[in-house]
């Protein structure tokens, strides 16, 4: 796996900036603006995954003005219809495609293979091609930090997570959440409810209430695009946090924080590379160090000493001296997951299919 580090980003930005100034500006000056299309499976609201992706394009619009034309296609179900829509937008002359969901992978990859002049960025996949880069966020770095805060605030010693699908990315964030909590309170437990849907607000709220009924008093809204879980937790008076963009306004009293994602540096660097003709497909896994993942809107209820501890860990994650997945780690079934003193490589982190000890809900097989 090729990690995009901040230094590389700066180098790329500088190089393409120069190339942009000398080469592409001249070459493209009289050309059509670059068409950028973002396609996402859910409606884009004020919050959530789609919103975070769309917001990542704003700096590009600001930087390039009328040299780029951004099209956002929202609420496109994964499947044949999405393939058709992506093919259409590329045929319309949009040469830069951001496919915002795992399920777009095959269709988007076909488009990239058919037309080498197209650049595709694909969210959370694993396929790579010269003009096709999968990208994902290291949410787990943020969920570790929030796990520490959750453990400090929990009175019952039980935490919960409402989670969409049992895929490695979500399993990893739950594992890191649990490990972070155990770093503060070793005997803490985490229950998980898989709703088996990316989008069903009513079911997500029911799931949150089921966890609260089991005395979970901090709930992790794992990959919900609407404030369904956050609002239910505010009503029940238990702490909650989520991914992608802040939902503090839906839970002014009990909002614990947000693992926010800022995709703009990555998008900007990729667009620059595309314009300079230097784009190279690579698997990009971005986290706190690249400033793509950041925990924002911390609850003021987190005790000051715990907060200081969290900030210390955050700094260590940023400079690379600490990883949440550092051994010894036992699996939920008691066997050894990671030997003492070793750090799990990214390639294993993205493929995790087991829960760490302390997660009480068995993983669906």
């Amino acid at each position: 796996m090729n990690n995009l580090t901040r230094r590389n980003l700066i180098k790329a930005a500088a190089a393409t900036g120069l190339a942009g100034a000398l080469g592409s500006r001249l070459a493209f000056a009289a050309d059509e603006p670059l068409g950028i299309t973002l396609i996402v499976p859910s409606p884009i609201g004020d919050v959530g995954w789609g919103h975070a992706l769309a917001a990542g394009l704003d700096p590009i619009k600001a930087a390039y003005g009328d040299k780029v034309k951004v099209t956002i296609l929202e609420n496109i179900a994964e499947g044949p219809d999405a393939d058709r829509i992506m093919t259409k937008t590329v045929a319309d002359g949009n040469k830069f495609l951001i496919a915002g969901s795992f399920g777009y992978q095959n269709g988007a990859l076909q488009i990239a293979r058919r037309d080498p002049s197209v650049t595709v960025l694909h969210a959370s996949g694993f396929q790579v091609a010269p003009n096709f880069s999968p990208f994902a966020a290291k949410y787990f770095q943020g969920s570790y930090l929030l796990g520490m805060a959750a453990a400090a605030l929990s009175k019952t010693g039980k935490l919960g997570s409402v989670s969409a699908f049992a895929i490695p990315e979500l399993i990893t964030t739950i594992n890191a959440f649990t490990l972070g909590a155990q770093a503060v309170k070793p005997d803490i437990e985490v229950s998980v409810v898989w709703v088996n849907s990316w989008f069903d607000p009513a079911k997500e709220q029911e799931a949150a209430k089921a966890l609260i009924a089991q005395k979970c008093d901090v709930i992790f809204s794992n990959a919900q695009d609407t404030p369904s879980v956050i609002a239910a937790c505010e009503e029940a008076g238990v702490y909650s946090f989520n991914l992608n963009s802040s939902m503090k306004k839906y839970a002014p009293k009990t909002y614990l924080g947000c693992i926010s994602t800022d995709w703009s540096p990555f998008f900007k660097a990729s667009v620059d590379a595309h314009l300079a003709g230097t784009f190279k497909g690579a698997n990009t896994f971005l986290g706190v160090a690249e400033k793509v993942v950041e925990v924002i809107d911390w609850s003021p209820d987190v005790p000051a000493d715990v907060m200081a501890q969290i900030k210390g860990i955050e700094a260590k994650i940023a400079d690379g001296s600490f990883s949440p997945f550092t051994g010894p780690i036992s699996k939920a079934d008691g066997s050894e997951g990671l030997a003492a003193g070793t750090t799990m490589p990214d390639a294993e982190i993205v493929a995790l299919d087991w829960h760490v000890k302390g997660v009480t809900t068995p993983l669906p097989k």
Binding site: P43, N75, N196, P201, A202, K203, Q205, A210, P364
Partner: protein, 303 residues
């Protein structure tokens, strides 16, 4: 609160959107019309109620507007399906898709916003019982839908109105011959069904999950239609089916939260399986099924 209390206290509220929409569809189908657009009617009701409540119009007014919106859209269905005698299946599907599109359009600027739900009204004494107490602590719409269920049963069992609706559905020619206005009865039934679907959507968007998100009905309209069929067009069985569906879906979530070792995919599909199996067994009696089935369902009426 343990898992059983959680299921008992949440079951009726979880069942209410299905129940309201299915009661409406029951009247429509009893009158001999198949309206498959319930999903879209619910979505429209949901967004209209949400907009009203969001702008401070209050829940009552929100429900009124949702009901009117649902009725209005279902009248479009009535014009096409009854007036022009178009195929009811195709027309219903088209209206359903149209309703969903319309709701997305109206709801564009309200995406992911939230409103306040209604407080729960507790039955004195009964709601303090151990274990089952939660059953008697529900919001007002749940209580009203229980009354509506009872009223619907009484109407079909004891009133002339119920018999007229059934006659129009069973044998429209005969009903016409003895002087009942078949088309008018069907139009009113369709409008009633649309209003009920609108209420069901309103309940989902401003009380049960008090937020708006495009696509939040998530197939509940289809389940309501299925409940009518699997409930063999009988009010009591539809009520049972809705409660069963609500209870089993909550059970799946509670089982996961307590850490039971059951695959979550199975738990997610359990409500569908259990409801179909239970209602299937109840309706296994062929003679009863034939007796309760609506003879002229989906057939256009011509004088």
């Amino acid at each position: 609160m343990n898992a059983i209390e959680f299921i008992l206290s949440g079951m009726l509220a979880a069942a209410t959107p299905f129940l309201l929409a299915a009661l409406g569809e029951l009247v429509v189908e009893r009158a001999g019309v198949l309206n498959l657009g319930v999903e879209g009617l619910m979505a429209l009701g949901a967004v209209l109620a949400f907009i009203v409540v969001y702008h401070g119009g209050g829940h009552f007014f929100g429900f009124v507007i949702a009901g009117l919106g649902g009725a209005a859209l279902s009248l479009v269905f009535a014009i096409v399906a009854l007036g022009f005698r178009a195929n009811q299946v195709a027309t219903g599907l088209a209206i359903g898709i149209f309703g969903q599109g319309l709701s997305a359009l109206f709801g564009k600027t309200y995406e992911s916003l939230t409103v306040k739900a209604l407080p729960k009204l507790a039955f004195p004494w009964l709601s303090e019982l151990p274990v089952v107490g939660g059953l008697f602590n529900q919001d007002i719409v749940v209580w009203i839908s229980l009354l509506a269920t009872f009223g619907m049963w009484a109407m079909f069992t004891y009133t002339k109105l119920g018999l007229v609706v059934r006659a129009v559905g069973e044998n429209p020619k005969a009903a016409h011959a003895i002087g009942y206005p078949v088309i008018s009865v069907r139009v009113i039934a369709i409008a009633f069904g649309g209003a009920m679907a609108g209420f069901a959507g309103a309940y989902a968007a401003v009380i049960y999950t008090p937020l708006w998100a495009d696509g939040m009905i998530a197939g509940r309209g289809w389940i309501a239609i299925a409940l009518v069929v699997f409930g063999t067009w009988l009010t009591g069985r539809i009520f049972l089916g809705a409660c069963l569906f609500g209870a089993v879906s909550l059970m799946g979530l509670a089982a996961q939260a307590t850490g039971m070792d059951v695959p979550s995919q199975l738990l997610s599909s359990l409500p569908y399986l259990v409801t179909i199996v239970v209602l299937g067994i109840i309706s296994a009696n062929r003679r009863l099924l034939k007796l309760n089935g609506v003879a002229s369902l989906g057939e256009p009426f011509e004088r």
